[in-house]
Structures are given as C-alpha cells and as structure tokens.
C-alpha cells in the first residue's frame, strides 16, 4: 500500500503497512478475526521489546519472522510444550532470526484444567445481564462492538465497558479458584 503522509511515528507507519498481512497470515491458521488480532498484538509486542528500528529497511521482514515464530510458540503452548528459549535481549541477525526463536518469547496463556473451565463457565453465567449479553455477542457470536451497540441500543464505549468488566470478573474467577 502507499505510505501515508503522516510520518511522525515510524512504528505506527510500519504497523499500518504490515498489519493486513499479519492478520491474513494468522487468519489462515485460526478461527476468528479476534484470535488473529490477539496473535498480531503478541507479534508487535515482541518487535517492540526487541527494540528493533521500525524505520529500518528490514523492519517488515523482521516482523514477519517474529509472526512465524509466534505461531510456532503458540502451537507448542497449545500442545502442552514449552514456549521457546529463555528471554534474551540480544538482537539477532536476519539469518539467525530465521532459525532461532525471536527475542523474549512470550509464555502462551492456556487454560485446560477442568475445574478452571467450570469456574470460567460459572463466572460468565453470573455476569450482570447486559454485561453477559454483550460479552457473549462478542466472544461467542463474533459481533463487532458497532454491531453489539446497534443491537443492544447502547454506545460503543458502553459495550467496551461491559466486555472489560466481563474479562475482569472472569479473570478474578480464575485467580480465586483452588490451585
């Protein structure tokens, strides 16, 4: 695509340029746009943490290699394996990046314990009514916040508050359970 006029933030310009391709890469592998957005964010975080120069000529290739490694780590975590090597701040060469895990691999969050799942289920069922409806529309039906706002006749910011509140309550339920 064409580079927009506002060149004040090189990282933003890089993300504008590579994000569609990152999303497309992950969308071919996961079931929803939200899942692809999640993995895109993890990829970007790795790039930021590695302190790569977003205006460098090889910034986009680096981002795509990180995405590839991100996906491999995601698969490993999903299958119960360990995600990558210990964190490292070393900036690797392009060639090394092809082979090695990229800097600061993240620990993929997983939940598999039956009791945890039951706690999550209970937490969702106990959400305040509007909060639960908004969350289910978003997480289970894949509706965007605009659609939810239109359907529930509330503002988009109210939808975001409901979803945020739901996430906090589910998170508390996971933390509060026996270990």
């Amino acid at each position: 695509m064409l580079v927009p006029e506002d060149k004040s933030d090189p990282l933003y310009l890089l993300v504008v340029r590579v994000r569609p391709e990152l999303l497309a890469y992950f969308l071919r592998r996961v079931l929803s746009l939200a899942e692809a957005e999640d993995l895109t964010q993890e990829t970007l975080l790795r790039f930021v943490r590695a302190s790569y120069d977003p205006s460098a000529a090889d910034a986009a290739p680096k981002m795509f290699r990180i995405a590839k490694n991100q996906w491999i780590d995601f698969l490993r975590a999903a299958s119960g394996g360990k995600a990558g090597a210990p964190p490292s701040n070393a900036v690797l060469s392009d060639e090394a990046l092809d082979e090695a895990p990229d800097p600061e691999p993240l620990i993929e969050v997983q939940i598999s314990d039956r009791q945890d799942l039951e706690r999550v289920l209970r937490a969702i069922r106990m959400l305040p009514r509007k909060c639960r409806i908004a969350f289910e529309y978003s997480r289970f039906d894949g509706l965007s916040y605009s659609e939810i706002a239109e359907t529930m006749k509330i503002s988009k910011s109210a939808v975001e508050k409901h979803i945020s509140e739901a996430i906090k309550r589910i998170s508390q339920a996971i933390e509060g359970g026996p270990r």
Partner: protein
Amino acid sequence: MTDERTPPSRPEPKDGATWVARLMSGEATASDHVACARWRSLAAENEADYQKARLAWRSAGAVKQNIRTRPARWRSYGAAAAAALALCVTLLALVPALRPDAPHKRAIAANALEMRSIALRHGDVVALNVNSELSVIENGERTSVLLDRGEAYFSVQPGQRRTFVVEAGAMQVTVTGTAFEVARFEKNAIVAVERGSVQVRVGQAPVRALRGGDRLLITADGNVRALSPIPPELVAAWQDGQLIFMEEPLSLVFERIQLYTPNRIRLAASVNADLLVSATFANEDFASVLDGLDQTLPVSIERSAAGDIQVVAD
C-alpha cells in the same frame, strides 16, 4: 461513516482488561495495537495485567460450547417487547430451525490510511482496501454485499445451504466457499478469483464461471472481457503492501491508484485508455509509484498547482 483519520477521542485504557476488550472489538486500529504494545512494554505489572486479562478472554473461548447460544440477533423494541422476547427466545433456542434471524445491515468503510479486515458471520472475512466502502446485509443463510467503491477481498467459508453474493454496479458475483477479490471504480469493475470458483452475472449476459487465477473486467459501457489469468497468490496483493498490474488497461491502473490519493487523477483524451500495461510496486510511497508509472508507461504525469494529477500521452 467514521473516518479513522480523525477518530473520536477515546481515552487510552489503563488496565489489561480494557486493552484486551479494545483489541478484540472487531474494530481495532493500527494505533490501538501500537499504543497497547507500548503500554505493555512500559512496566512488568502492565504486562502481567494484560496476560491475566488475555487468559480470561481465551478461557472464555474454551467454554463456548458449554454456553447455550442465543438466537443470532435480537433488537431492542423497548423493555416490554424485550421481556416478551425473552420468553420466545428461551423457547426458540430449543428449536434452532425456527430461530428468528432478522436481516442485519451494516456499512463498513476504510479510510485513507488503513485497510480493514472485518469478520462476518459464519467465519467469513472481508478485507477492505484504503478509501473503499461496502455494506453487508446478513439474513439467515444469505449474505449480500454491496461494494460501493474500491477494492475488497473476500474469504468465504464453505456451507451447503449458504449463499454469498457480492454486487458491484451491474456485476453480481455469487459464491459458495472461496476466496476472491472484487473491485469497483468509476468506470471499471473487476473480479479476480484466488481459489474455489465464483459465478459472475453482468446484466442480461450469460453467467460466467471463474476459477482460481481467472479475472474478469467490466467496463463502463457494459462490456465484459477476461483479463489474462494471474497466479492466484497475487490476487488482492494490495493486502501485502503490493500494487501489481498484470496486462491491465491503463484506465484501470489509474483507477486503482486513485484509491491512494485524495487528488483527482484525470486521463487526457490523448491517452490510450485501453492499452494493456504491467507494473509492480511494493511498499512504496505514492510519489514513487507515480514516478514509476511515468517512467515505465507511454505517458507523462503532470501535477497542477492544486495537486490534481493529469496523465497525458508521451
């Protein structure tokens, strides 16, 4: 329609849950992603908070099958109607075939800076190039898309009873499970298939079937003609930051790059608009693309003081 160049001021989230909520909104922007990544890398506690929220969000996905799905959409007709509906909804949830499924229409636009990817129902996805607009009507097993202007790429999940139709002016594209691009400009419209097959109807002309790599051009005067096939992986290459023109009429080339500039591009009468040309650009700024076309095509490109672009024959 919202123009994301001037987004309404949204307070930046201060906790992981709100960041996760924003990124998973189905409408997250590049700015959101950048701001979130910076916030997460700012402090260890920010990252811990984000990961906690992310775990909650992912965990909810794991229990999806345990939650009884409600009818796809209900609309608020006031408290009394909602209360009455609640009973119907409970009953109808037990009989999926009878679930009400009101037509749902939404308009989607991409601004001058960012492409957009939008999740539709049934796992379908549409990617919209910059300065492009479409509207979607989802009604039961039928999804109708009206492409108002610009370029859009569709990835449609297979489904035996489903219908997915894209209309762009006089052209109607019907698909089942496939991936393809449709573009509609002032004079030309095109459809290009990446995989699967589509059926294209233009006015009263016989329906044409296209397969992976096939391209069809519809001109302003209603003429329909096949363009040379392209490698399927190059369909909608704009998603990958590339502008690829393969044996395309010069008029179409300039209509396609018109998406990337607010300044009007005009072809002089002396230009052979039907001349088939090829050119490739990757991640270049607009001025470089214009320079490249000026050098490779038999045209000269001139800019007026106001910034308008005039294309004249060499």
